[in-house]
Amino acid sequence: MTDVPVYKKKDFISDQEVKWCPGCGDYAILSSIQMALTKIGKKKEDLVFVSGIGCSSRFPYYVETYGMHSIHGRATAIASGLKLHNPELEVFVVTGDGDGLAIGGNHMIHTLRRNIGLRVIMFNNEIYGLTKGQYSPTSAMGLVTKSTPYGVVDRPFIPAALALGAGATFIARTIDADPKQITDVVVEACQHKGVAFIEVLQNCVIFNDGAHDEVTNKDRRDDTTVRLEHGKPMIFGKDRNKGLMLKGFNPVIVTIGENGITEKDLIVHDATDYNVASMLTRLSRPEFPLPLGVFRNVEAPSYDEEVQKQIENVTKKKGKGDMVSFLKSGETWQVK
């Protein structure tokens, strides 16, 4: 590895005017990711942001790296081809709940299944913003939108559960109100071999304002969220006295100091344990605090590496091919 320059956040700010609505959660996410880029130890010219269509997908225009703004839902497919061609690149996919889970749902699950080394960052505002306010695959049931004037009757996806089901090896959830956590999670994702799926809860001020209020509100968020740290017990609450404990196979909320409960009785987060990740994806409001942080981080062969390895093995065995001699191999005959 050659020396990576020391970057400042401004090195990743492009000359394009940012055009999201005032107050949009995307500003904070953009800023946190630009900050993360200064910490991942990669050269600017080796970074590529690929997006689809939607508010979030304008992202690449604003980052001073290579970038592709593409078509609706296909960013994961485009990024896969790019990463396969040049595995040295650090390729990010920026997508939204509509782009990534509705029209691009098929590409999403296959990208996660293959474990190709992309960093998929999905902004989840539970609404279609760019098309002006229709419900999305993550909209809460009952939500009144332009296309559901009497309320949503579809059951929503839980993105982390979908990612886990598809076989993702790195799964995280974070939130626009916590820029530092976004930065930390993105930096950690970039150290991961294989695919990283990051859901960022994001507020759409125009069409679904306050969708995540309960977990962002400064007065309440300590009680409504649980911060995940690998190897640490799952403690939450303003007074840091609540925790998650297993009762049989199911998690329950307990209070430390009550009924003889101590920290030692709580679930210790293990990002390598499938069952822990599975349990975490099912924790939802209002029954439980919403988990934020890295749910899962496991080692597995990555698709881009395996493809490369296979090519190297075949080349080692058969030698580097030459089409000139290839055409003359096999059954040929001379006509005089």
């Binding site: 690929v50 290579y66 078509i71 896969s80 081809g81 296959h110 055409l327 040929t332």
Partner: protein
């Protein structure tokens, strides 16, 4: 023994009977023996339709000859029918007086009933105008393999080689290449290899010992251009053409593809070439196939995606993206019968309009079309060259007929035939203080190609309309019109970079036949025949369809009538009429079958007389 100029033989049986394999072996052997050949597989889209029924009949036709063979032949001279259904499905096509080889064992009550015969055609007299060879193919195969220790089912599977053996005797074919092939194919299973060889020889010996009942044929080697030859089908040639183009230009070949009939063999072929700087990606769908190729192209690969009509429809939006990105990309459309699932295994030329206009917005593509199986190599190279030299997507059109059809192919001297492709790839890093303008163009309106990993060239591209030079997003009304015209003119300028159109025949005359793509074998053969009989007819066969060679308009003026035979309802005709203001005469066929030479000769004669 009779010396024949060319013979058409059709192998026909249940789709599980191994007729494709039998036909391929016959063709390969004939090619090795110096015959010119052309083949045409014809199989049902069901992998195993109910056995013994007409729906399940699978056929393979080969035309081999001592003369220039340009199509798999019109009406077969010899029909091998492994069961009554195969006889029933093919008897109509057989030349009167032709030879039929039947598997007598399958002509029982059940077999006849499944094929829909009320009476046994072998005894009813309906085959009186043909020469019928009755062989107990099943029975004799089992008997020949009596001492080989494999189960009865496996023995039964060898019966196609028995039938092949009969034809080898009839046409004086050498058994050795097929014996060698069997030994290699079943190397891990020597008993099966032994059984197939035994069946092949048993069939040959049967024909030899019963010689008195049939006349045998000998087809002398054809007079063809000297050189080193091999057999090739269109899909193989397409794959190799791209692999060579990538080698020529020193780039990785990246294929993003999704399986679809009849294009999948290109994916299969390229997947084998891992040590040739070829990367293949079987995507989750057609859209991901083209999108992954676009991603790889942004990264600096020679990128292609392969499909057939339905898949091309799915790729439409991404094609538009590649056009506005102005990145190199080749899309291969191996055409089949449509619309919708249509006739997946049958040939048609009905995607020309889709290639020309099948996208939203003003979205021009370069379009080229291959004319024969071997020409697929050349046109794949051309598609890659034009895409790289002009930084824009190219569609290569082939069809099920030439994709699966095989012919002897003179292996080109690659270094002499193909100069190095000149790309627009930048290298190194951008000098300090300079700003890279991704959409700045040269005199051919082609932009430059900077790829991730190059310091200083960081830039963003997008599907939104972009400002001239900078590529930044722009909704400016005038700018959109300027960019639309630039993209169109850029493609139009490709006409300066392709060969002028040539004619087969004179520059003036009564009729000019204009064809494109995979019908070349038939139009070439028909025009040659008509000219032999003194007709003033010439052929203009198009390989470059958009843009067209610059002299097309001029050439069209030299003839009284212009005949455009197409395996569609008149798509090239419509384009010619609208572009050149002429009134061409269409001859259209959409039966999933290629043209016959005799059929086109008749149409030509009729056109002259009308």
């Amino acid at each position: 023994m009779k010396d024949l100029e060319s013979v058409v033989i059709r192998f026909s049986g249940d789709s599980g009977d191994g007729m494709q394999l039998t036909g391929t072996q016959f063709s390969n052997t004939s090619a090795l023996m110096g015959n010119d050949i052309a083949t045409f597989p014809d199989y049902p889209s069901e992998i195993r339709a109910p056995s013994g029924t007409i729906a399940g009949v699978s056929g393979f036709q080969v035309n081999f000859g001592a003369i220039d063979v340009s199509t798999p032949g019109d009406d077969p001279d010899v029909l091998v029918a492994m069961n009554p259904a195969a006889l029933k499905a093919n008897i109509v096509a057989l030349r009167k007086g032709g030879t039929i080889i039947v598997n007598l064992d399958s002509f029982n009550e059940a077999g006849l009933k499944k094929a829909g015969y009320d009476k046994d055609p072998l005894s009813s007299g309906e085959l009186d105008s043909y020469q019928v060879i009755k062989a107990q193919v099943t029975e004799q195969t089992l008997r020949a393999l009596a001492n080989i220790d494999i189960d009865a089912k496996a023995k039964g599977r060898c019966k196609n080689f028995y039938a092949l053996g009969i034809t080898y005797f009839l046409f004086n074919r050498d058994l050795a290449p097929t014996v060698k092939w069997i030994e290699q194919k079943f190397g891990k299973n020597p008993l099966v290899a032994q059984a197939n060889i035994a069946a092949l020889k048993a069939g040959f010996n049967f024909a030899e010992t019963t010689e008195i009942q049939v006349s045998t044929f000998r087809v002398a080697p054809a007079k063809i251009t000297p050189g080193l030859y091999r057999q090739v089908n269109g899909n193989e040639a397409t794959a190799w053409g791209f692999a060579y183009a990538a080698q020529n230009v020193g780039m990785e070949l990246f294929l993003g593809s999704y399986p679809i009939t009849p294009a999948s063999d290109i994916l299969h072929e390229l997947s084998k070439l891992k040590n040739y700087n070829v990367k293949t990606f079987q995507a989750e769908d057609e859209i991901a196939g083209i999108c992954s190729a676009i991603g790889a192209s942004f990264g600096g690969a020679l990128s292609i995606t392969t499909s057939s009509g339905p898949g091309i429809a799915l790729k439409g939006e991404a094609l538009g993206l590649a056009v506005i990105y102005e990145l190199p990309l080749v899309i291969v459309d191996v055409q089949r019968g449509g619309p919708s699932t249509g006739l997946p295994t049958k040939t048609e030329q009905s995607d020309l309009m889709q290639a020309m206009y099948g996208r939203h917005g003003e979205c021009p593509l370069i379009i080229v079309a291959a004319k024969t199986p071997g020409d697929c190599f050349h046109m794949a190279f051309e598609a890659a060259r034009l895409s790289l030299e002009h930084m824009t997507p190219v569609m290569l059109m082939t069809d099920g007929y030439i994709a699966n059809g095989a012919e002897p192919w003179r292996i080109p001297d690659l270094e002499k035939t193909y100069p190095k492709i000149r790309t627009h790839r930048l290298t190194g890093s951008l000098p300090e203080g300079q700003k890279f303008l991704p959409y700045k163009r040269d005199d051919k309106l082609v932009r430059s190609w900077a790829v991730p990993g190059m310091p200083g060239y960081e830039h963003r591209i997008g599907g939104l309309e972009k400002w001239v030079d900078t590529g930044n997003v722009s909704h400016d009304p005038k700018n959109h019109e300027i960019m639309t015209k630039i993209r169109a003119e850029k493609v139009a300028k490709v006409a300066d970079n392709i060969p002028l159109q040539e004619l087969e025949g004179d520059k003036t005359g009564d009729v000019l036949v204009v064809s494109w793509g995979g019908t070349y074998g038939a139009t070439h053969g028909a025009v040659a025949k008509a000219r032999e009989s003194g007709k003033k007819v010439s052929l203009m066969h198009l390989q470059y369809i958009n843009p067209m060679p610059k002299n097309i308009g001029e050439l069209l003026k030299g003839f009284k009538r212009i005949l455009v035979p197409e395996l569609n309802m008149g798509q090239l005709k419509t384009i010619l009429d609208s572009r050149f203001g002429c009134q061409t005469i269409g001859y259209n066929k959409v039966q999933g079958l290629p043209f016959k030479i005799s059929e086109l000769v008749e149409v030509i004669n009729h056109t002259i007389e009308r």
